[in-house]
Structure formats: C-alpha cells, structure tokens
Amino acid sequence: MSYGTTGSACRALLARDLRLLWRRRGDALNPLLFAFMVVALFPFALGPDPALLARIAAGSVLVAVLLAGLLSLDALFRSDLDDGSLEQLVLSPHPLALLVGCKIFVHWLTTALPLVLAAPLLGELLHLPAQVRPVLLITLVLSTPLLSLMGAICVALTVGMRRSGMLLTLLVLPLYVPVLIFAAGACDAAQNGLPTLAPLLWLAAGLVLAVVLAPLACAAALKISLS
C-alpha cells in the first residue's frame, strides 16, 4: 500500500469516517427514524382517506427526507473541528476540496442513501401511486446529493461558531427550496401523466454544478472558519 499520495489520503479519510460512523451507528439511524415518524404522522393528522394521501404522498416524502437530512447536517465538520482533525486536514499536502468532497460523500452515503432506499416504503405508507414511484426515486437520487453538497457549504461557514444550529437552518432553507420545487414538480407531473424530463434535467444540472463547485466553496469556507 502506498502512503502520502492523494489517492491514499482520500482512502484513509473515507475509511476513517466510515469507521467512526460505524462506532456511532445508533446516531446514524436517527434521520431514517425521523423520516418514518414524519410520514407516519400524516395519516393521523389528515385522516386515512387513500385519495387524499395519494395526492400528498410524493411531496410529504420529499419534505420528510429534506428535514431528516438537516438533522444530521450540523455534525458534518463539528467533531473534526473540536478535536483538531480539521486542522490536520487543512495542513495536509492534498487539495482540501477533494478531502472535503470525500467527507460529504460519506455523509450522503450514510444519511441520505438509507432514506432513498427506504423511500418506496415511505411512499407505500401514504398510498403513493405506482406510476410516481420510479420518478420519486430518481428525484431523490438527484436531489439528496445536491442537498448534502449545498448544506455542507453552509455548515462549513458556520462551524466556527458555537450554537450555530439556528443560523444554519436559516442559511440552508432558501437553498433547499428550489431543489424541493423541482423535485416536487417532477413528481406532480408524473402523477398527472405529464412529461417529467424537464425538472429532472434541472435537478441533474444543479447536481453537476454542485459536485464541482460545492467542495471548493466548502474548502474556502473551512479555511475562513479556522482562522
């Protein structure tokens, strides 16, 4: 095994973050339980009418997934900042944006991917129409990484402050709203038998932009937070 190359640094970081999450796997399940709770509460509040639930199913699942993602966002860089690991990452001879990208990927893999996988079940709880299910899955696959990437920028900006939770929410929500609109638009179109390609392409374009630019913005924001 080689050491000191950028590849080995990314590998080491991925392995370490996954191992740390495995040590705290109880916490890692929180977003999933939260999304299930939110979705399960809708029928209680609105009544068990299948037609009504089917109409709101896709939107409810999207909102539940979005809020569940917010729940774990603050922890993205917090522990690394507290124990000095973040300093070591910044001082390492490798591009910080790449290392931050690895951290965001692990975050998405462990918090958003379980939600995407659970989405069909969440939809089933709300009588999600069968023709919407694939579209909902595609929108989630496109929008959850987008949410993680944009959320990471806001976390990087606020990680230097104590009790930044409220500020983080305020910063993140305006960025999340367009994603939610396009995702809900795609599901709505599928429900009404309309073409869904345009909103999905918008989401994909946003994702491509965010994959390239968000790690760079994160790295710059982290350097500001550390100084």
Binding site: G4, A12, L13, A15, L20, R23, D82, E87, Q88, H94
Partner: protein
C-alpha cells in the same frame, strides 16, 4: 546518544514481552541512520522576515526575524497570551501573516505547503477518541505519508504505548493521548515540527520522551520550534536539556520578549 527507548522505568509503563523483543530492532534502526550534515550554505528550513500578525489591528506578535536550520531545536518562551500559539498557526500556514513573509527551504510558504514539510502539534491533538491509537496512526500516514524506516507499531512503541495499540483513545489519559499525537509526529515525513506546549499533560517520563524525540529529530536533520511558558518543562525536576537548543541566529528569549511587549503595547 540516548535513544527513544520505550517503557523506561521512570515511565512506569508495563514492560511487555513484545516491547522488549522489539526494542533492539528499534535501536539498530535508528542508529544506522546516518547523521545529515547541515550545509551552512543551504537555505534555512524555516525563515521568517518581519513576521507579524494583527487581529483587528491589535498586534498579537512581531515583527519577528528568525531562521531555523536543520538540526536545530528552538524553544519559544513567553507568557500566556503572548502569541505563541498564533505564531505557530501562522508558521504552519493556517493563518495568513499580516506583515512579513515566511520561507520554507527558500520557497514562499504558500508554495511549500504542498510539499509535506510541516507537522503541527497543537492543543487540540487531532486524534479521534473513538478510534484506537493504531487506527489514528494509520490515518495520519494515509493523509500525510510515511517516514521511511518506521511503522505505526514502532512509533507507538517509541512513545511508550506498547500494549495500548487497540484500546480506544477515549479510555486513555490526557498524557497518553499526547503520546499518540507524538507517535503521529514520528510517522509523518515532515522535516519541521511545530509543537505547541508539547510538555503539557505529560509526566516526568513523558517530558524526557519529548526531549529524546526532539534530539532524535534534530540528529536526522529535522528542525523543531517548540513553545513553552516554562511551567511544565522546568519545575518538574527534569534536567534542562540546553544542548537541544543550540544558539540560533536569534535569542529565542529576546524574541519571545519582544513578541510579548508588542502584544501589550
């Protein structure tokens, strides 16, 4: 020359069989390393010219001029709040200096940052409590590279943590955590060590260990800048190891004093 012998009696560490068996190989490994002669013509490992840092227009330290050559260990002394930690953060590249410039082996710091030359040990040790010392060391070498001729096991043995490789760092004492961070320094290939209060939290054996590691590092041609407010290294009864701090171009005492007077003014 003393070597970083693991588990010296003063430490009170458990003398494990594996430690005893590995010690000879460790010794020969370090002894066989040739001494790197320091070329007086070569550019200094670290050079600061007119270096100062201001926070909200308040001077934290400086302006400072000093050079650090391979084989030198310089002690930065200063009172609490005199800007020692800030100086190390500026020298490592975490903070931009407000005035002046830093050169690493003749290159401006921003360029040299990418060449694995600086290792920083700050108050936050940069080790994960949930992982074991061995896993922390493996992560460090994955991130920063591995110094030739040493393995994570050897490094942990050298800092007196043999037998603790697989214990979660959370269960170790503050001094033992510091030793894990010292093992990381041994493993990464950086030539310049910036150590912020390396003696804090360490017992007598630990202070001697830091001095031995610094001596070893200097003998291999590395350089170190360490800060201390004096309370840990000297009141503990350990002999003051003046030979670790050959007279550098500047008098570190005067330097720290000028830094603190600036900060007060």
């Amino acid at each position: 020359m003393r070597l970083p012998s693991p588990n010296s009696q003063a430490d009170g560490w458990p003398q494990t069989r594996s430690a005893a068996a590995m010690a000879p190989t460790l010794r020969s490994r370090y002894d066989s390393r040739p001494m790197k002669p320091t070329d007086p013509e070569a550019p200094a490992l670290l050079e600061a010219r007119g270096l100062a840092y201001l926070r909200n227009d308040e001077p934290i330290f400086g302006p400072l001029d000093f050079a650090l050559r391979g084989g030198e260990v310089v002690l930065m002394e200063g009172d609490n709040g005199s800007g020692k930690t800030t100086l190390l953060r500026v020298l490592s590249g975490l903070l931009e200096p407000s005035l002046g410039e830093i050169h690493l082996q003749g290159q401006p710091l921003t360029v040299a940052r990418l060449s694995q030359q600086v290792a920083l040990l700050s108050h936050q040790l940069g080790i994960k409590n949930e992982l074991s010392p061995l896993q922390n060391c493996r992560f460090a070498i994955g991130l920063c590279g591995l110094r030739p001729g040493i393995t994570p096991h050897h490094a942990l043995l050298s800092v007196g943590l043999a037998g603790y490789e697989d214990v979660a760092v959370r269960q170790l004492s503050a001094g033992q955590k510091k030793r894990v961070a010292l093992a990381r320094l041994l493993l990464v290939p950086a030539a310049l060590w910036l150590l912020d209060e390396p003696y804090a939290n360490l017992d007598r054996g630990g202070i001697e260990l830091v001095n031995r590691l610094l001596e070893l590092h200097a003998r291999r041609g590395g350089a170190a800048l360490i800060t201390s407010h004096g309370a840990y290294a000297y009141t503990s009864g350990a002999p003051r190891r003046i030979e670790l701090r050959p007279a550098s171009k500047i008098n570190p005492r005067a330097l720290a004093a000028s830094g603190s007077s600036e900060a007060i003014a």
